[in-house]
């Protein structure tokens, strides 16, 4: 009794009470550590599989890119699940993936058609998230689509790994916390192309720009105008053309007596194939203006477009995010894997989509959870290599990847049916890097 009395002093009671109170406060976090894992959208939980959403243009002017994106995604799923030769999983550094899916769950996928229309792309992504329960949406071949889907994904708390999107807006004014872009952008294209164009065509040029009339076109037009005017070129005219116009003759004809000696074709996909083919048919390539040969520049180039335009691309300069002829180990592993699967080399659209799928899977594997906030924090500032572009940084402030950019030229003497573009210069990262606040934007919150 006396001992009880000794032990139950006021001080001891207070101490014990404090311990109990502290324990009560801490207990929920001790026993429910990881409980947030239950609280996010489309948590796969204990399921044996996890679903990714591949939202690509299967119809419309960018359908060729979309088809190649889908091939790349299917290959990525194979590799993540441990099938095939592993592709870039053999070269990627650092790598957490083990070739047994993501966190031991088999990767499955659903597909959607963006139709290269923002509303269709959003509807498709929404369906994937709400009906199919995808943990990540990826794909697209248009900046209009990327910005629209990225915004939706931010609102719905699902990560969006952008496919081919080149406008500055995607990681500029329209950047989102849940959106990540591996592909380069208009600013980088212009920064890489400028010095090459100056060396090849001189400082006294007059340019005429035909621009696809949506956010990507405006973005490239702005960046190209800034760079070319800084090096002394004069911009004669900037004409906006509707997406998917088909017949560009009425836009090309005025170029002929505009006094311009360079046509900058800010078109992509089938639009570029059509406008370039028609520009050549109207004799622009054979023309002499101001005592100089008339030149055509295509700021955003791809092998698929070169294939579509055939001989018309010979000698035409442009920029590209990646090209299958690069000699690094990552590129060779991917090209071999893709070529064996499909019988032809991948396009830059296929490359960026394949890499994005792997980067997401690797991030989840690294943090040990599908919880988007943790995955986002892992990807922000993530540095990696062995994926075809050399050392690459996912900049934390705007979710834009920084890596070397390729300046290419339509091959005049192709050695094979795929040898359509010649890499003129691999422009180093330092030359195309810009401050993250140059295109001001707000990533938004982690928790949505």
């Amino acid at each position: 009794m006396s001992s009880f009395n000794r032990s139950t002093t006021r001080r001891r009671v207070l101490k014990g009470g404090a311990v109990l109170a502290g324990g009560a406060v801490l207990a929920p976090t001790v026993f429910t550590r990881g409980a947030w894992a239950e609280a996010f959208r489309n948590n796969p939980g204990d399921a044996g599989s996890v679903t990714l959403g591949f939202n690509v243009p299967q119809t419309g002017p960018y359908a060729d890119e979309g088809a190649d994106e889908l091939r790349a995604y299917q290959l990525a799923v194979k590799h993540i699940n441990g099938e095939g030769d592993g592709g870039m999983l053999n070269t990627m550094q650092p790598l957490a993936l083990k070739g047994n899916g993501i966190l031991g769950k088999k990767v499955e996928y659903v597909t959607g058609d963006t139709q290269t229309k923002s509303d269709a792309a959003r509807a498709s992504a929404k369906r994937m998230i709400e009906r199919d329960g995808v943990v990540m949406v990826t794909g697209g071949s248009s900046s209009g689509v990327a910005v629209a889907v990225q915004s939706l994904c931010q609102d719905m708390g699902v990560i969006f790994m952008a496919g081919l999107t080149h406008a500055n807006d995607t990681t500029g004014k329209d950047r989102r916390r849940y959106g990540f872009r591996h592909f380069f952008n208009a600013h980088m294209s212009a920064a890489a192309l400028g010095p090459v164009l100056e060396a090849q065509m001189g400082k006294e040029r007059r340019s005429y720009m035909l621009t696809a009339d949506y956010n990507w076109g405006w973005s490239v037009e702005g960046s190209m105008t800034q760079v070319t005017e800084n090096m002394g070129w004069e911009t004669v005219s900037q004409v906006r053309t509707p997406l998917g116009a088909g017949d560009f003759s009425q836009y090309i004809t005025p170029v002929l007596d505009s006094g311009a000696d360079v046509l900058v074709l800010i078109h992509y996909g089938k639009d570029m194939v059509d406008s370039l083919t028609q520009a050549v048919q109207f004799g622009l390539r054979d023309k002499q203006v101001n005592g100089r040969n008339f030149e055509v520049v295509v700021p955003l180039y791809s092998r698929l477009m070169a294939q579509g335009a055939g001989k018309n691309v010979a000698g035409i300069y442009g920029s590209t995010n990646w090209h299958w002829s690069l000699q690094d180990a990552g590129t060779q592993a991917f090209v071999k894997s893709f070529g064996q699967e499909y019988g032809f080399p991948p396009s830059q659209a296929a490359h960026t989509c394949y890499v994005q799928a792997l980067l997401y899977a690797n991030a989840v594997e690294s943090v040990g959870t599908f919880y988007p906030v943790e995955v986002i924090k892992f990807l922000e500032g993530f540095e990696f290599d062995g994926m075809g572009n050399g050392p690459t940084l996912y900049r934390a402030e705007d979710h834009q990847c920084f890596k070397p950019v390729l300046v290419v030229k339509g091959n005049e003497n192709p050695s094979s049916q795929f040898d359509l573009l010649e890499v003129v210069q691999e422009v180093p990262t330092e030359q195309i890097t810009y401050p993250h606040d140059l295109y001001a934007g707000d990533l938004g919150p982690y928790d949505v």
Partner: protein
């Protein structure tokens, strides 16, 4: 000046397509009294006759590409080239003109089948019902093409000999470097020939005379013991051929997809309204006129003053015509007028 000539040619070219479709539309309206919203689908079907002919001629065998070593790549070699060598290559290169020849009987059959199988049941129905059924037919045909050929445009080439550009500048005493694509000139020429042939058929043949008489007074011609319905069926077939040829010839200019007919249909109806419902010369004149006006509206100087005017100019003119002269430029008095 150079640019003006090219814009004029562009306008005539586009106008040629408008005129060919509008000619068929107004022919069907004038003879059968049917507002045929499936007429654009006939243009589209003609284009896909060209695509089919090209695909057929390009039926290929896959041959290993030895220049690619790090994976197995193949080159498609057409059987025609394997069997006939250079002659085979030439045949493939000339697929567009071959398709134009093939399109005539195919589109005639399509037109006859469409008229006998569906359109004739709607002669005495209201215009609203005709529009509904023909629009539905256009959608069905479009979707069938989409299922077979996919939703994406399929590029076609002109024969190499006319794939380049013609020196129109030197023809007109202008700059020698001024050129215009040969195939577009051929399209324009063919448009004139087809339009001329239709007019000559209606003007100088007995068959055409009866058709014109039927257009003016169907009942009287019927009372004379002439089976005017059968003749009108043939007229529908001719309209289908004209639209189909317009489509087949257009494929080297713009790669066709299942929706191409709809793009032209709306504009062609505007052309018919501007020209005058049921007036053949009106349709042709309005087709070329609107094509040229649209082309000139896209000149930079014009667009600087009125941005986007090239997209709406045709509709503005249609509104103006409907307000001031509802029967159209060359329409008969009383038609479309209360």
């Amino acid at each position: 000046m150079d640019s003006l000539l090219l814009q004029l040619l562009n306008g005539l070219d586009k106008g040629g397509a408008y005129a060919l479709i509008a000619l068929g539309l107004t022919l069907v309206f004038g003879t059968l009294g049917v507002v045929n919203f499936a007429h654009g689908a006939l243009f589209m079907l003609g284009a896909f006759v060209a695509v089919s002919v090209n695909a057929l001629l390009n039926t290929s065998k896959q041959i290993r590409d030895e220049s690619i070593t790090f994976f197995e790549a193949f080159i498609d070699q057409p059987y025609l080239e394997i069997w006939f060598g250079e002659t085979g290559t030439t045949i493939i290169e000339w697929s567009a003109p071959i398709a134009i020849v093939v399109a005539v009987p195919v589109m005639l059959l399509v037109g006859l089948a469409m008229e006998r199988g569906l359109i004739r049941f709607f002669y005495k129905r209201s215009h609203a019902e005709q529009i509904l059924v023909t629009f539905g037919l256009a959608i069905v045909l479009g979707e069938i093409i989409k299922v077979i050929f996919g939703a994406n445009p399929i590029p076609q080439s002109a024969p190499p000999v006319v794939a380049g550009a013609a020196p129109v500048g030197s023809w007109f005493g202008l700059s020698e470097t001024l050129v215009y694509p040969w195939w577009r000139l051929i399209y324009l020429f063919c448009a004139f020939v087809i339009i001329g042939a239709v007019f000559a058929f209606l003007r100088f043949t007995t068959y055409g005379m009866v058709v014109r008489a039927g257009m003016a007074d169907r009942e009287t011609v019927g009372l004379l013991g002439i089976d005017i319905e059968r003749r009108f069926t043939v007229v529908f077939g001719i309209a289908a051929v004209v639209a189909g040829l317009a489509g087949a010839m257009y494929t080297p200019i713009v790669p066709p997809d299942y929706h191409i007919g709809m793009n032209f249909l709306v504009l062609s109806f505007v052309v018919v309204v501007v020209g005058g419902m049921g007036s053949l010369p009106g349709a042709v004149a309005a087709g070329f006129l609107l094509g040229v006006i649209q082309s000139f509206a896209s000149i930079g100087a014009v667009k600087e003053i009125l941005p986007g005017i090239d997209q709406i100019i045709i509709y503005l003119i249609a509104v103006l015509i409907l307000l001031t002269r509802p029967r159209g430029l060359l329409g008969r008095k009383g038609v479309m007028e209360s």
